[in-house]
Each structure stands twice: as structure tokens, then as C-alpha cells.
Symmetry: C2
Subunit: 414 residues, 2 copies
């Protein structure tokens, strides 16, 4: 894409009420727009990064057999009353309003209940199990305080997946498969080394237990205790002698870290389906409740975590597979038409989808600063000087390393 056509511009300053690093940089670089506290829109560059993350997550969810759907935002009170989660005392993040006929309506902050209700139309016998479904949903939560930029929002994109199984064994089988799929996701988006599967308490709404995926991050809201060697961690809430001993370790094996929760998985056992009335007939015709587990990844939250983890003092640094473009092609203005011609040629050859081409009528210094702020992994500089040498300048945004390359070598980067 031509940068002259991108409607966003970089800014020197983020809004004064924005204190988090992730939102400050994402706003300054033109990835997001702040609508109000805890509510952000995705601008073209942010939209691209989110799509790249979604694509990776989709592939991993489909690989383990999940089907994609999209549930509604508007929520039916009757459905949620079945588990007593309509109540504002039980769930304190509901947004609610009224239909024109005076009936209450809610706005989806989670979707276990409507998905389980919907499944009652499709699950009747053991032949209909297991079933796995997922969606990318815009969740709305009436948080008291929206802080940490796009890491904790009132509106955010979440991938939520639900597994409906006949037995505890099948459920646990899928739980393990999903855990692996989740670790693949975090590896592919560049957070594999610093993301840990963390034991956590189940909370009041789970039968048994839950796990979180926590990414080590200085601005994270959670405290976790990590055993680096074994790549496991424990959430602060349940970190004690008893817990770690159950895991076959001792307290000394763990170190304290700040972390951001990027995913979570719950096992509801049969509790949720019993409340909702989702039963199946087993091979002997016996009616049994379905086992349910649920699996979340905070998609827009990941955008914020990636910024927090990788940004440096010059701006954002995107890992390769989520970056909005592979290359940032920077044309250094000069009197010579050859420079523009070369830049145009490279732009066309490498493909509009791969390249953000800074064709703007701007000074070199401004272009370099903007490129560093936006954070595309490789910057290719086309200048009169470089052309005289028959080479191009390639800068690695992350390491800052600059080398002279031949045009042909660019192919390896896309």
C-alpha cells in the first residue's frame, strides 16, 4: 500500500488521558483510535494486524476440528436466567437495555449460555458428540475501570471456543489438544518463549479447574509464579505449598513475574449443561448431561501485549507473522527520477499487500522516524547514494542492524 494513500498519520502525542504504553504507541502510530475510555476502533494498520492474528488462531482452531460461527451481541434474559447469570449481583459487567416492548435485553459479555442453548437443537444422542465450535466475538463488558490501554477494554475482540463432549475423557482429551493449539498460536505470533500455561482457580462457575495462558509483561495485571525449566506457572491466587506439591514441585522451583493473561481455558464438567438442560442419550439409551469446556483468547488484547513486550524507545516492533506489512519501502526524495522509478519497481514486484511504500513528499528524517514508530520488521531504503552503489539498504527494525543488499535478496523477506 502507498503510504500517501493511508488515511492515518503518525502523531507526536497520544491523548493526554492515555497512560498506557500500548495505547499511546498504537494511537501515535495510527493503529487504533480512542472512542472513549476503554473503547478503541481499529484503523487500517490495526485492522491488518488483528486479521493476521485471527488467521493464525483460525488455522489452529480448525486444525483441531472446530467449526466457526458467530453468535449475536443481543442476549436473551431467559437463557441467562437458567444459570442465574442474568443477575447483576452474580455478573457485574453486564450492559443491559430495553426493547421497545419493555422487555430486558443484554449485550454479550460471554457466550457459554446462548451457545449451550443453541446446541440443544443439534445434540440429542452420543452420535452427535463431540462438537467443537468457535467464534471471533466483539465482547462488551461494563468494567468499573478501563485501564492498561487495549489490554483491558469495555469492548474487545475475543476468540471463544466451546467443546461439547459425551465423557470426561473426551473432554480432557480435547482440553489437551486445545492447550497444544494455544501454545502453537502464541509461538506463531511471536510470544511462545514468554507465554506460560498457568494453573488458576476455577472461579464460582466452573466445576473443576481452569488454566490461563500468561505472557510475561512488565505492565501485566497479574502476578504469576513460574518454573522456567518445566515451562509451567501458577497464578498468585492459588500459589502455595500445597498447590505446587500437587504438581510434584516445591516453592523454591518458582520465581515471581508480572504477566498479562492472553488466554484461558475452563472445564465446566457437566454443571453448565445440567443447568441449561443439554442432555444426550448414550449407547444404552440412558440420558446424560453433556460435558462442556470453553477456551478463550483475547485477540485485541494480544495487540496490546505485543506492543508492551516488543516496543523500544523508537516505537513499535512487530513480530514477522503479525506485522501489517512485511516491508516498509522508504524512498528518499532526490532530484533524480531514477530513485522514484526504482522504488516504484520494487513496490510492484514485491506486491502491494506485502509492502507499505513511503512515497510521501516528506523529509528522510520524518520517514525514518515514522517507520520506526510503525514497526514493520524490515525497512528497505532507496536513495540516490544507494543506487550509485547498485545496492539497497536494509534495516532490521528489531535489531537496528543495517546492511547493503542486492535487489534480488528482497524476495527472501516476503
Amino acid at each position: 500500500m502507498r503510504q500517501s494513500q493511508l488515511f492515518t498519520k503518525t502523531r507526536r502525542e497520544a491523548p493526554s488521558d492515555e497512560t498506557s504504553k500500548n495505547a499511546q504507541l498504537l494511537i501515535r502510530a495510527g493503529f487504533i483510535n480512542k472512542e472513549m475510555a476503554g473503547v478503541y476502533s481499529l484503523l487500517p494498520l490495526g485492522f491488518k494486524v488483528v486479521n493476521n492474528i485471527k488467521k493464525i488462531v483460525s488455522e489452529e482452531m480448525e486444525r483441531i476440528g472446530s467449526e466457526e460461527i458467530i453468535m449475536s451481541t443481543l442476549q436473551n434474559k431467559e437463557t441467562w436466567k437458567k444459570t442465574d447469570r442474568w443477575s447483576d449481583e452474580k455478573v457485574d459487567v453486564w450492559f443491559k437495555s430495553e426493547l421497545k416492548n419493555g422487555n430486558d435485553v443484554g449485550f454479550g459479555w460471554s457466550h457459554e449460555e446462548p451457545i449451550t442453548e443453541m446446541m440443544k437443537s443439534f445434540i440429542a444422542s452420543y452420535n452427535d458428540l463431540p462438537r467443537y465450535v468457535h467464534q471471533f466475538q466483539n465482547k462488551l463488558r461494563n468494567e468499573v475501570r478501563a485501564k492498561s490501554g487495549i489490554i483491558r477494554c469495555r469492548e474487545f475482540l475475543m476468540k471463544d471456543m466451546y467443546a461439547f463432549c459425551a465423557t470426561d475423557e473426551d473432554n480432557m482429551d480435547f482440553y489437551k489438544k486445545s492447550t497444544n493449539a494455544y501454545m502453537n498460536v502464541f509461538k506463531r505470533i511471536g510470544l511462545g518463549d514468554i507465554t506460560f500455561i498457568t494453573s488458576a482457580s476455577g472461579g464460582f462457575f466452573t466445576d473443576k479447574f481452569s488454566h490461563e495462558f500468561q505472557t510475561i509483561c512488565e505492565t501485566g495485571e497479574d502476578i504469576i509464579y513460574i518454573n522456567k525449566e518445566k515451562k509451567v506457572a501458577v497464578n498468585k491466587e492459588i500459589y502455595n505449598k500445597e498447590t505446587v506439591e500437587k504438581m510434584g514441585m516445591v516453592l523454591e522451583d518458582f520465581g515471581e513475574k508480572k504477566a498479562a493473561e492472553v488466554g484461558n481455558i475452563f472445564n465446566f464438567g457437566t454443571g453448565k449443561c445440567e443447568q441449561m438442560g443439554l442432555y444426550f442419550s448414550d449407547k444404552d439409551g440412558v440420558k446424560k448431561p453433556v460435558h462442556l469446556s470453553s477456551y478463550g483468547i483475547g485477540i485485541t488484547r494480544l495487540l496490546g501485549v505485543l506492543v508492551e513486550v516488543f516496543a523500544d524507545d523508537k516505537g513499535i516492533v512487530w513480530p514477522e507473522f503479525v506485522a501489517p506489512f512485511k516491508l516498509h519501502l522508504i524512498e528518499i526524495l532526490s532530484g533524480k527520477p531514477e530513485v522514484k522509478e526504482k522504488a516504484e519497481k520494487i513496490y510492484k514486484k514485491m506486491g502491494e499487500a506485502n509492502v507499505l511504500y513511503d512515497d510521501r513528499d516528506a523529509r528522510a528524517g520524518e520517514k525514518f522516524a515514522d517507520a520506526d514508530l510503525i514497526g514493520i520488521p524490515y525497512q528497505v531504503i532507496v536513495s540516490e547514494k544507494n543506487l550509485l552503489e547498485g545496492k539497497l539498504e536494509l534495516k532490521n527494525r528489531k535489531t537496528g542492524e543495517i546492511k547493503m543488499i542486492k535487489e534480488d535478496e528482497l524476495q527472501d523477506l516476503c
Copy 2:
């Protein structure tokens, strides 16, 4: 995809409170799930059709230079007060709620105001114009009566595009380009022949005029007057001698038809930007208000219109480029393993993404009835009898025509 793995099943009956043909068929065939009156979720087959429509719309919008973004659902009262459209007297479809701090919050039923507000960060001079942006947004509207199935919903997916231009001329230029892009969309999804661009009144919020795209459809909510020869139409509201004479025609040139509005385009002139405070400096440094036009297509509504227009007494009939799959491969169970082997071979060769493979343990009659209800354009029947003849049976869902083909000929269909 293997039909045995699809979690949805066809149903004999739609919910008793569902009176529209489109929702009845879409529910019975497993494309959508009814959450409450006027609110539907998209199940895997429906999700695929919507994605196919979105892809076509995206391509046409990008071709005319629009950039994709996604605005928030949560709406800031202050932004909407600038045009007096926060008021329930002025806009009677708002859903509203309260933040924890007592501040009002709205839920997006349209996005002209927040997009114009956001653009104030990026448009300052004539150099920054024109700018075109679009999004696929889940709109929420508190309709008094939700009827016509997914044609008029309380929650629906809409593509909305906004053009910000320096002059009326540029604005009208893009208006024409968009009109062509819209007609391309309707052509590509199979509605070209029966969709008309229709003059309509501006309504209180437009400066000048608007056009609708109306698809002839017996269950449509609108009445339009069509000149088939010239491929133009006039909305009932403004159909009179004066209007048609302004168009250089007479009343006798027009015939009355029922139609469903599938798209609309508005010219706001400079009115909206003056209200919102979006100005730019022209070449002489003079401050001028930006011209705005907006462009909508009802994406999930199209799903309903396609069903209304093409369905027959056996079920849905999808046009080729929006169908959830290209082929419905139907294996007729027999004692011979060769039948399953052949079906499996075809499934793998044609690709999982192209084929819905009915590998279920079910009778031929049930499989045929389900295939007709689901409405994939071509049905390929693999049976013992066909194999003996060295051929496959190919049924065209729309025409009902059946012919015997060689396996190689299948390639032409994908």
C-alpha cells in the same frame, strides 16, 4: 467438509413464531439460529455464505480505493450530540445503557458521526483528501417490530462506507464510482438482473438526495416504480409526475413492483461535517467544510433476499458465487466398498473447501431432501448403479436437470 462433522442438522419445522420464508428455510437448513425476535446467530453454513458475500463486497470497495477499518459498537454521547442525533426523539432506534460511573453510553446503529469525529485527527488540508473508508459492522437497532426474518433485524451485519472529499465534484465522482461498484456487487452475487438503482427522498439528515438499491422481491417491504428498459426506478415516496419528468420520462414508462432495499447511498453535502467541525484548508489556505457521502449494503439482509428470490418448494437455491460449497457430494449407501472409496476419492480430489460430502449413515431419500433444502448449486451422486456405468450423476439444483458425467468433468465446476 464432511456432513457427518457438521454440527447442524436440517429440521422439518422452523420455530412456530417464525413466519417469513427466508428465516424458516435458513433455520430449517441450519444456516442460522434464532436467539430472539429479530436476532439471529450465523451457524457454519450461514457464516460461509456471509463470508462469500463479504469477500465480493470487499473486493469491489477496495477496487475504488476504500480502506477497511472497524469502529466500536459502544458510542460516545458527546459525539452524537453534535448533530442532535443522540436524542431519542430524533433517532428512535437507539439502544442505550449506562457505564458504571453513571455516564450514558449508546450502541452503534450507524457510524457517520464517530467516523467523521475520528477523521478530524487525520484531515487538515486539501492534501489529505479524498479519503474513503469502509467497515463491516454489527449494527444494533431497537426496531419496534422485527419482521421479515433476517431482512429486518434488531442486529445485523452492514457494510458501510464513507467518502470525505474536498469538493462537490469529487464527491459526485465517487458517488458514481460507488454506484458502479454496487451494481458489480449485486451482479456478482446473482441479483444483477432484478436490482435497480432507485431515487429516494433524502430524509431529514441529508443535504440533497439519496439513492437506494432495490431488489424485486415479493416479500420486500417497499413499493418501487420501475422503468425496465432504462434500468432505473423511483421509490414510492417520491413517485409522481414531477419527479419522473425531471428524469426525462413519463409516468407511463414505469411499472409498480414490491422490492427489498439491499443498499443505499446518501450525499450529506457539507452539512454533516459542518455540524461535526470537520474542516480542511484549501490551496489558498481558506478553511472549508469537508463533503461527505455514505454508502451502505445490508450484508445479512442479502442472505435473506437471496433466499426469498431463489428458493423453490424444495428449499434454498444459492447462486454459485455465494453458495457455502460448490458441490454437494452424495454417497448412496450400499454393500459395496467401491461406492465409499469413489466418494472419498472425489472428496479429496475436489478439496474440502469446495465440497460438502454427505458421508452420513442415512437413507438416499433423506440425503436428497437435505441437499435440496440446503441448496448447494450442484449435487454429485455416487451410487452402485452409477459406478457400474462408469459415470456420476450430476444434478443442477436450480433447474433440476440431471445428467450423467465422467469424473473428469467435475473439475469444471470448482
